[in-house]
Amino acid sequence: MEHRANQPDIAAIVSGDSQEFSKLVDDYKDLVFTIALRMLKNKEEAEEVAQDSFIKIFRSLKSFQGGSKLSTWIYRIAYNTCLDRIKKYKKDQQTKQIEEVGSYHIAEMDNALDLMMQKEKSAMIQECIQKLPAIDAAILTLFYFEEQSLIELASALKLSVSTAKVKLFRARKKLAVILKEQLKPETIRSYE
């Protein structure tokens, strides 16, 4: 997680300073775009929704009261904008059945991944995240790129910490199931 030393000047943005706003966009664009891409599964659409999120941020920045972290507030807007887009176009998100992934499978997957080339591994992980339902993909992205804090995750998704914890656990399990499917026994054997 990168540390943002120079926080943008909110008061300047509210009074209409575009230069300061462009700093804010530069700081958060990658994570906002990643959330949009992983939820919407389409690059063009994700870029459009990420832009819409920043416009919403600009419009409502004057109502930001500092009750939560600026980053958490930004991610909440991005997450809600993506959900609105999904609802609007009634995108059917396939729900992944949570199967049992035993310790044996986990160890097997871990070994196979260890032996993979870095680039190949990265591509496979991206592919697996793409197959996750929108909300699970957002939960994992927000958790792993936002200081791995359950409190921040819960605040961004407007959930209680215990609900966020359960949802995170389920999202992890779904990702493991997808990975298990991706790493068929023959693939695993080829790395042994």
């Binding site: 575009s18 664009k29 986990i106 992980i125 990702l175 493991a176």
Partner: protein, 133 residues
């Protein structure tokens, strides 16, 4: 329990390998251009009816009213009565207003109605503010 820990460890290492995606190079410029557009559209307020058209309609309607009124022969005779009625209106109010009384029920009802409207306006404002986020 051990299984959950293993799963967490596996996903932790997986997510470390999944870097953030980057939008197109001109993403920031495009957002700033849209913001600029938004700012300029706020300044460009154009009323539906321009001042000129509004004045023209006022003159036409005023003229037409006077023309139609002048066609009525009793208008000129009555105009003096109208003027005196207007000047007497002040004394009419000072006479009648102290006699005007509302029942307690109506006062309470009006009070409750005003409070309800304020309360609903407050709730609606909060609702729409939250919807933006």
């Amino acid at each position: 329990m051990n299984e959950d820990k293993d799963l967490e460890k596996l996903i932790n290492s997986l997510m470390e390998e999944a870097p953030l995606e980057t939008p197109s190079d001109n993403f920031t410029d495009m957002v700033v251009a849209r913001v600029e557009e938004l700012k300029s559209s706020k300044l460009m307020f154009r009323p539906l009816i321009t001042k000129k058209t509004f004045l023209l309609w006022a003159v036409i309607l005023g003229g037409l009213t006077f023309y139609l009124a002048s066609l009525d022969s009793s208008f000129n005779a009555n105009i003096g009565n109208y003027l005196s009625a207007i000047s007497e209106a002040n004394s009419w109010f000072s006479d009648k207003l102290p006699q005007f009384q509302l029942s307690r029920k109506i006062i309470y009802m009006t009070g409750a109605f005003v409070i309800m409207i304020y309360f609903q306006a407050m709730l609606l404002k909060r609702f729409f503010n939250r919807q933006v986020i």
